[in-house]
């Protein structure tokens, strides 16, 4: 596509964009969750690449705010509002949270993907943000594209096609 510029959102990163040529991308999400926030009137988008469910798992190291579901949701909301989005118009969509390597007999409590998905849902609910669509769980990877101009969110997979959220 001409005039489109992709910007990768890496592990634990948070990106905000209002430039309509911009596409925010989370590549190869497995157990991580890609959260897209969007204000359809101001046409501003934000994307977070959540790695772990809970910032209380941090052990004293400097962590990027997007690394954990709780701090990631909070930081993304603050950032998108600061960029000019209206809190009441922000919608959320999320994808990822898969279980990639299911070892026989492994403890389902260690399913970090499901915990990430649940933590993102809970954090959004705490902030009163509606999760309008989600594609979470399963045993396969996903790549997410958020088109800032239109708010279109595309989920692509290997061998399972593409879908819009």
């Amino acid at each position: 596509m001409i005039g489109v510029e992709t910007e990768a959102v890496g592990l634990g990163e948070l990106k905000v964009a209002s430039d309509p040529s911009r596409v925010l991308v989370c590549y190869g999400l497995g157990s991580c969750v890609g959260l897209a926030l969007y204000d359809a009137v101001a046409r501003i988008g934000a994307m977070v690449h959540v790695v772990l469910p809970d910032s209380s798992m941090a052990r004293g190291r400097d962590a990027p705010p997007g690394k954990y579901a709780d701090t990631g949701v909070e930081a993304a909301l603050a950032a998108i509002v600061k960029a000019g989005a209206s809190r009441s118009r922000i919608t959320a969509r999320a994808a990822g949270g898969a279980r990639m390597l299911s070892l026989a007999g492994s403890n389902p409590k260690l399913d970090i993907g499901a915990r990430n998905a649940e933590a993102v849902r809970a954090a959004l609910a705490r902030h009163g943000i509606t999760l309008v669509a989600e594609d979470m769980g399963g045993t396969y990877g996903r790549t997410l594209h958020l088109y800032v101009a239109t708010g279109r969110l595309l989920v692509s997979t290997v061998g399972r096609g593409e879908r819009e959220l």
């Binding site: 890496g10 592990l11 590549y27 190869g28 999400l29 497995g30 157990s31 991580c32 790695v51 772990l52 798992m57 941090a58 052990r59 190291r61 898969a98 990639m100 390597l101 299911s102 070892l103 026989a104 970090i112 396969y140 990877g141 996903r142 790549t143 290997v158 061998g159």
Partner: protein, 198 residues
């Protein structure tokens, strides 16, 4: 990870022994001869791992095993899909180009490859360092590199920074990577054990 040259040498010897054993076992399993090209060792930051596979969104075939015992961590064999299929043909004694998809037979051939290579590796470590290590049964997946490696990186995110990456090539034509990813405590234990080798 900074290794002294003697430690590095011991590590290279362990890998060389493991690869020689792997090649011998694989050749016995199959009708033809399988050799592994002289391995190249390096340490890579966990975040850069998807890069060796062509980036997080590129499709790879991975054979995954968890490691338990004196060393805790993960072992991943990583191949481009076409090379994984080539390996399946080699392992099953089929003409090149026979394997088209990762069906049950292909997956079990690759799982066996994972068993052989990881056992050889664990045995070589035990022989030289006395550390007892056991791999779990392997899981074979074809998907995006980022998604597969994420599962491992997330587990190590708080306790490890680097992976030991061994690059090799089967019969000189089918390149692949063996990733050894111990947690920090295990890495320190391994390095200390390398130090103690005389």
């Amino acid at each position: 990870m900074e290794l002294q040259s003697s430690q590095w040498q011991h590590l290279e010897q362990i890998v060389a022994q493991a690869f020689a054993d792997s090649a011998r076992s694989l050749s016995q399993m199959t009708t033809g001869e399988i050799n592994l090209l002289e391995p190249e060792l390096s340490f890579l930051p966990l975040k850069e791992l998807p890069g060796i596979a062509g980036g997080p969104a590129s499709v790879v075939v991975a054979v995954y095993l968890a490691v338990k015992g004196d060393i805790h961590g993960h072992v991943v064999l990583l191949f481009k899909p076409e090379n994984a299929r080539g390996l399946v043909d080699l392992l099953l004694g089929h003409p090149p180009g026979t394997c088209q998809e990762l069906d049950e037979l292909a997956s079990s051939a690759l799982a066996e490859l994972g068993n052989v290579c990881s056992s050889a590796f664990m045995n070589a470590i035990a022989d030289r360092t006395g550390l007892e290590v056991k791999p779990t049964p392997p899981v074979v997946v074809e998907d995006m590199a980022g998604a597969i490696l994420e599962a491992v990186v997330v587990d190590l995110y708080q306790s490890g920074d680097e992976a030991l990456v061994v690059a090799t090539s089967f019969n000189g034509a089918l390149p692949g990577h063996l990733l050894l990813m111990p947690d920090t405590v295990s890495m320190a234990r391994l390095v200390a054990a390398l130090e103690a080798i005389r």
